[in-house]
Subunit: 335 residues, 2 copies
DNA sequence: ATGAAAGCGCTAACAA
DNA sequence: TTGTTAGCGCTTTCAT
């Protein structure tokens, strides 16, 4: 026996399909009607078809969150926050992974026009004109958790990387570290570019010059190790040429770095202090626990979800651009 | 201007909607027809509506993966593997989180009947009769990545925890550790129960008695720390009463444990060796890198996806129950 | 090869 | 309050 439809329920209950629909949607009906319908529903094990419903009402009550890499713990934090807001509003959240390529992001955004979901929160790693264009043309509301130009005319919610860098640099300075190196992710990404700029500014503002800078090929643990090896091998062996602190562009890179420091016989924080960014779960799980710049991923997730819900309600709102301020979570990787 | 429909394209191209549909689906048509349709599609920026299509053809070309906790790195591995298989087969993968409660799992499985996706891979933490019933009654194919009774009559693909435990215990034994303790997750979960049983058997098979056993309230880092505190506080302070090795039921618990060991001034692996389970990315990221039982999460993910695709093709196949064999990834947390 | 039309399962006018 | 009915956008017979 195949799945029962609303027509089957109507037949079983001896009422019209419209009445079944009404009862199911809580619209006014006599107690007797409600009872008959519910009995029939129960008996047949009827479950309304979401596709048919959404085809009719034009809404799926699903929202999509697209992230670049599920393995990056910063997205876990964000996901949790988005999930909370979204489910409280009666939506299901589905998560999809885009990978590091902008073409996949564009394909995803374009695909949203097919009606998979009522809205999208996307945290793009790389942004180009194609992506912005696809977002603008997207039939469903999109909010960007990241940095796109104001001219894109889209709701965005982003971190303040420069401010975060300042926090990191000044914390290190205050701890007496002045020979600071930097492990960034790819500078052709949005966060990579922002952090490069932020680092340069923060150093300059404090009259410092960086001891060394390397760029990992992506924001992963493995890339962090690789970059750290490059960093360490490029340095004179003597202690005087070495950095006494390293800032990493995210926690995964920082943890990768710490492994290489240990492999080189360097102790954290005694010989080298390390500061990560994102303040993800990994920061407290790492050993030693990692001092990390909290870029507000939970708040960004929460507010992105709120922005999306608001725009679904009212598509004429003028786009908002929210910036979340960073804080510093000090742990034992800095003295 | 609202989204163009197939009718709009037909009008613009001066052909019938049937012809548009045919061209879009690659069915035979004259070159001229194909050209006219494609021009109209291009011009209007037409994108077919997946909801309407799936209502008609009865398929969404979406598959769902449901996991209990996105913060558990074992699911990252599994997700990646599932994603690979599924997207190669032309499906989109959507990931949803159920949380630790079985009622949420049941709700999810029931909800699948609404037609959100063509199939489901679920890795349930807790299993009860309701869940099994909902899986059996589910209108779309479900494969369980985990352990449910054969009587459930459902495709399953599971790890061999007892064998994994044996690997762990014998490795420790071989390294000269005999005073072994165990940090498990909740025993009312499927993995928790399996690991408790496996640990008991493995110890018995080697003529060993466990020094101590604790049960964390869930499979998280925080719970691991908590459980480890309990473990350590229940032990005599003298070295002779202390375990010289601890096995943890997953990597998160193991890392939590290592933090508490360090807080107690105990060195890993010198004073205490630690073995985790899952061999997730966290195992290599932790410090020291964690020896971990590889329960084949990538392979389980891959084969679960394959099983699901096969069942979508042919729903009459007799259910398969695949067991993936474990291996041990030795790292520096054991001597 | 192409077009007309039925209908997937549901909701929302509109009528009664 | 309840029933009848027209679609939502698409695919797929069945004619032509």
């Amino acid at each position: 026996m195949s799945r029962p439809t609303i027509a089957g329920v109507a037949r079983a209950a001896g009422v019209s399909v419209a009445s079944v629909s009404r009862v199911l949607n809580g619209l006014p009906a006599t107690v007797e009607m409600v009872e008959r319908v519910q009995r029939a529903v129960e008996q047949l094990g009827y479950v309304p078809d979401a596709r048919a419903r959404s085809l009719k009402v034009g809404r799926t009550f699903q929202l999509t969150l697209a992230v670049a890499d599920v393995g990056n713990p910063v997205y876990v934090t964000m996901m949790r926050a988005v999930e909370e807001v979204v489910s409280a509003a009666g939506y299901r959240l589905v998560v999809t992974t885009t990978g590091p390529d902008v073409v996949d992001e564009v394909a995803l955004v374009r695909g949203m026009a097919r009606g998979y979901a009522d809205g999208l929160v996307i945290s793009p790693l790389r942004v180009d004109d194609d992506l912005i264009k696809s977002i603008r043309e997207c039939d469903v509301p999109v909010v960007v958790a990241g940095n796109v130009p104001a001219s894109a005319g889209v709701d965005t919610i982003r971190a303040n990387s420069p401010k975060g860098m300042l926090l990191a640099v000044e914390h290190l300075l205050q701890k007496g570290r002045r020979r600071i190196a930097f492990v960034n992710g790819p500078v052709d990404t949005v966060p990579g570019a922002a952090r490069a700029k932020g680092f340069a500014e923060a150093m300059k503002a404090n009259g410092l010059r960086s001891v060394a800078e390397v760029e990992a090929i992506d924001f992963t643990f493995a890339a962090g190790r690789e970059a750290a090896r490059e960093l360490l091998s490029g340095l004179p062996r003597g202690a005087s040429g070495r950095p006494d602190a390293v800032i990493a562009a995210n926690d995964l890179l920082a943890v990768g770095l710490m492994h290489e420091l240990a492999a080189d016989g360097l102790e954290v924080p005694k010989d080298v202090a390390v500061v990560g960014m994102d303040d993800s779960e990994l920061a407290e799980q790492s050993f030693p626990p990692l001092t990390s710049v909290n870029l507000g991923s939970a708040e960004r997730g929460r507010r992105a979800a709120e922005l999306l819900l608001a725009r679904i309600e009212d598509d004429t709102r003028t786009p908002r651009r929210i910036v979340v301020q960073p804080t510093l979570s000090v742990r034992r990787s800095t003295p």
